[in-house]
Symmetry: C2
Subunit: 523 residues, 2 copies
């Protein structure tokens, strides 16, 4: 499909001779000012990408030819976009946008309205629950038990918004089936003032049920009644939708994929308990604002689409295999891990929606750590390695806590921003030195996204930006970004392996060979 778009053929021709950013004609003041998308709240600089107006025009044409904005509207309006034609597949709607579709410019289909209404009911339930929790005034610690989508996103966002927490409230997460994960946390907590949120859409996730069992046993050992300390977020009617076991249950639906569930109750309960209900609504408002932008037809006004197109240029035409996402904000230190899941689980696919093997690269490896820390770590590779990594920088003009000091005539925030801008320029521009070891080849593309400040609202915008950037790329590649069949085989083999541990007969000589060896180590 992808290769059949006329624009793709032309882009392929142009990509044989892309611009070199170290050529002084390119990195000019005019280019910085022109290759820019500006809204009231966001600045997005892409002058350090290896694109010309000609490339951009063709990318915009690709957006048109692939009908990706139409597909975005179809998605938000509840059409079945999670499917593979002609083969058994999940065959579902994809309606995470409905979980925040109760502000201005709501989607108009009946399906979207229905999903938004159901979502709003949960939000209102949550509002009452938060008020009750405030009245009770007894919980100091909130622990979310979940894995994958029920962990990475909520954890990344809760961590990012720590400055906005209610006083004396601490938030923790248990995810891994590794018994050390739960044991390490439990020994720090006063269980009598701790509330646990168990999160599993199906109510059957192995890791989550196992960790919940640990928690319940610990509560019992502390002479506490588990039910009084646990709430659940799950599908209606799942084994975890059980008033005899939980103080309350909040619902999610199968049209909200795990990795897209941050703005549903999966992220909602923990975020509202952490920072208060009103701030959670601001977070939703920001996400919704980006949802609306994602439906704009003109790619130069549609940020997630624009980001998607530049990503496709770097991935399919300049052939860069990875993307680094580097926020210059320490509190975003788990955000890249969330985006790693969001992107790689969505677009790490090799079958298109017709079930055909693709003949082009799909989603890249996503990785990253915050700056300035990364500068003292992997930036050596970014500047002088043999491979090129496109970088997506994220910055905020103001600090979150607004507790800053001046040291040696500049504030920390000024130092942070100076470093961010300097790296963007240095990677693109390079520097010639006669000493080959001090020479910087440059021509390393990057973009810069700036917000005024990290707030619940801008966090919502940033999250939704990436959700849609990824969805747009999937639409353009013609793949299904919303299933995850690739996780099934490991589960099936793990079950056989577990049988070997349990002494249940299994025809699995390879597994048995491993086990035999491993037990020679055990003391």
């Amino acid at each position: 499909m992808f290769y059949q778009y006329p624009s793709v053929q032309k882009l392929y021709q142009l990509s044989k001779n892309p611009i070199d950013l170290t050529d002084p004609q390119y990195l000019t003041v005019e280019r910085i000012q022109e290759f820019l998308i500006q809204t009231e709240e966001i600045l997005y600089f892409y002058g350090m990408q290896r694109v010309t107006s000609e490339v951009l025009d063709l990318l915009y044409r690709l957006a048109k030819e692939s009908l990706c904005v139409e597909k975005m509207k179809a998605m938000q309006n509840g059409e079945i976009v999670n499917s593979i034609v002609g083969f058994a597949s999940e065959h579902r709607q994809v309606l995470h946008t409905a979980s925040r579709d109760f502000f201005d410019h709501a989607n108009e289909s009946l399906e979207a309205k229905k999903a938004a209404k159901t979502a709003l009911e949960e939000v209102e339930k949550l509002q009452m629950f938060c008020a009750q929790i405030d009245r009770d005034d007894r919980w100091t610690d909130i622990v979310q038990i979940g894995i994958g989508g029920s962990d990475l996103g909520p954890r990344a966002i809760a961590t990012a918004l720590e400055a906005y927490y209610k006083k004396n409230r601490r938030i923790h997460f248990i995810s891994n089936v590794d018994p050390d994960d739960v044991a390490g946390l439990l020994k720090q907590l006063d269980l009598s003032t701790t509330l646990f949120i168990s999160v599993s859409k199906s109510g059957t996730t192995l890791e989550t049920l196992t960790n919940e069992y640990f928690v319940k046993e610990a509560l019992k050992a502390a002479r506490l009644h588990p039910k009084n300390h646990m709430i659940s977020v799950t599908g209606k009617g799942s084994p975890m939708d059980d008033p005899s076991q939980y103080l309350a249950s909040f619902y999610i639906w199968d049209y909200i994929g795990g990795r897209y569930s941050c703005t549903s109750m999966v992220g909602g309960v923990v975020l509202a308990l952490a920072m208060g209900f009103d701030r959670f609504i601001e977070f939703l408002r920001g996400a919704h604002q980006m949802d609306v932008m994602a439906k704009i037809k003109d790619p130069s006004k549609n940020l997630p689409l624009h980001g998607a197109l530049l990503g496709i240029w770097n991935r399919n035409f300049l052939s860069y295999p990875t993307v680094a996402i580097i926020p210059y904000a320490q509190v975003l230190h788990r955000f890249s891990a969330h985006l790693q899941q969001l992107d790689m689980e969505s677009n790490g696919k090799q079958i298109d929606q017709q079930g055909k093997h693709v003949s082009y690269q799909t989603g890249p490896v996503i990785w990253g750590e915050p700056g300035t820390n990364g500068q003292h770590s992997f930036y050596q590779f970014l500047h002088q390695g043999t491979d090129i990594v496109p970088v997506e920088f994220i910055g905020f003009v103001q600090s979150t806590y607004e507790k800053d000091l001046s040291f040696e005539k500049s504030t920390s925030q000024e130092k942070l921003l100076s470093n961010l801008l300097a790296q963007s320029i240095a990677l693109a521009q390079g520097y010639f030195d006669k000493n080959p070891n001090k020479n910087f080849p440059g021509n390393r593309p990057n973009s810069l996204m700036f917000f005024s400040k990290l707030t619940p609202k801008t966090m919502g915008m940033l999250l939704s930006y990436y959700e849609h950037k990824i969805a747009f790329q999937g639409f353009i590649w013609g793949i299904n970004s919303f299933d995850q069949e690739g996780v099934q085989l490991g589960k099936r083999i793990a079950e056989k392996m577990l049988h070997l541990f349990q002494g249940i007969a299994e025809d699995f000589p390879l597994g048995a060979a491993f086990l035999e060896k491993i037990f020679t180590l055990k003391k």
Copy 2:
């Protein structure tokens, strides 16, 4: 250089037709048992790599031709291996191994003995200091202030060994110049019982001095005397070697690179305060044990060399651009970030030691998160993405806290290990399904390293394994793994940028153009 080795030419021929692991003749019980390195404490399975005995023989020959074991010995014995011939360079010894070279089988050169003796003096100073701290019995929280090598490694290891901490001791890290990093931590601490460790070899690291200034101001605001709450780890005679400002100072030397400094006082002080001096010595003992192994000539008995060779096969001959390091141990959740620094800052180079531009790929992108969490995140990509990522799995037979429960007939540790082994097999073996979306292509190489349990000693072994694996790859590629000139350009431009913030005249129109735009966002 690399391409001149006869083995490289032959490997290149073989790499045109590498084995396919999905061919049933390969993944056999015999192969699992044979493609294995076993010591008393470690099991290293590499049968799931795309190698044959013929490939292995040639890789072993490459080790011989490149003289890499001789170079390892030269390094440990204090020869100047950090240099570029014919150009200004750091021109230094590389003696991080000396920081733990006071057990059996010590290196015998005068230089190595001298460095080990100096290191031991600091260790003894630390022992006395720890005893004093124990007697004082007043510190509840220890905070390390450092960045890059003074942060990632110590943080990863301290986090990994949390189960071994002394009672009522909490460890924290401040690294980023982002003012939110220090502000977020300070508001949680009781400063009167907090001890800060400032770490900078030069005593001039911008981020660290800035954060130290924040801390001192906070101590003063709490009517505490900064000197009574601060110790330093720095070079002798640096601005931070100052008894008027610090309770104590511990020393490091320029022959210990930041990213290789975990076993020096950079990691030593915080680790010994966290878990006690004796456990810190066990950590050093483990690292040293691997140092000794790294000098064994036979690659089949030299684990880090063996790992390096397989990495080179994957990188230079099978052309995989990234490596995922995935520990099945949640407490190792920062270890991949440390290895990202260690590897990418060491081997993200494009100049060989003769100052010539290399014509082959050097260090890959290193990334990873713990399993089983990754299974619910990026494993979709690992199994079904269009790119192949070699995986280095790390496992432990027993859990660290040894607090485990049986749920649905198996313990959490058994579930964890079952998943680990299952993933290794699934990635290599794949699975055919008529539904293309449920088909697993397999043939995705990986290795498995097992220890009996994560202890200070095995953590030391694991750390040293990677330090030497990376050094061996650098030796074979003929590059200098021990400098980091690639970080300089960004620093220089950041300084110019900072001048713009301070209103100091700078001929830097590009920087000014960015700033002007960014301030339009500022509220």
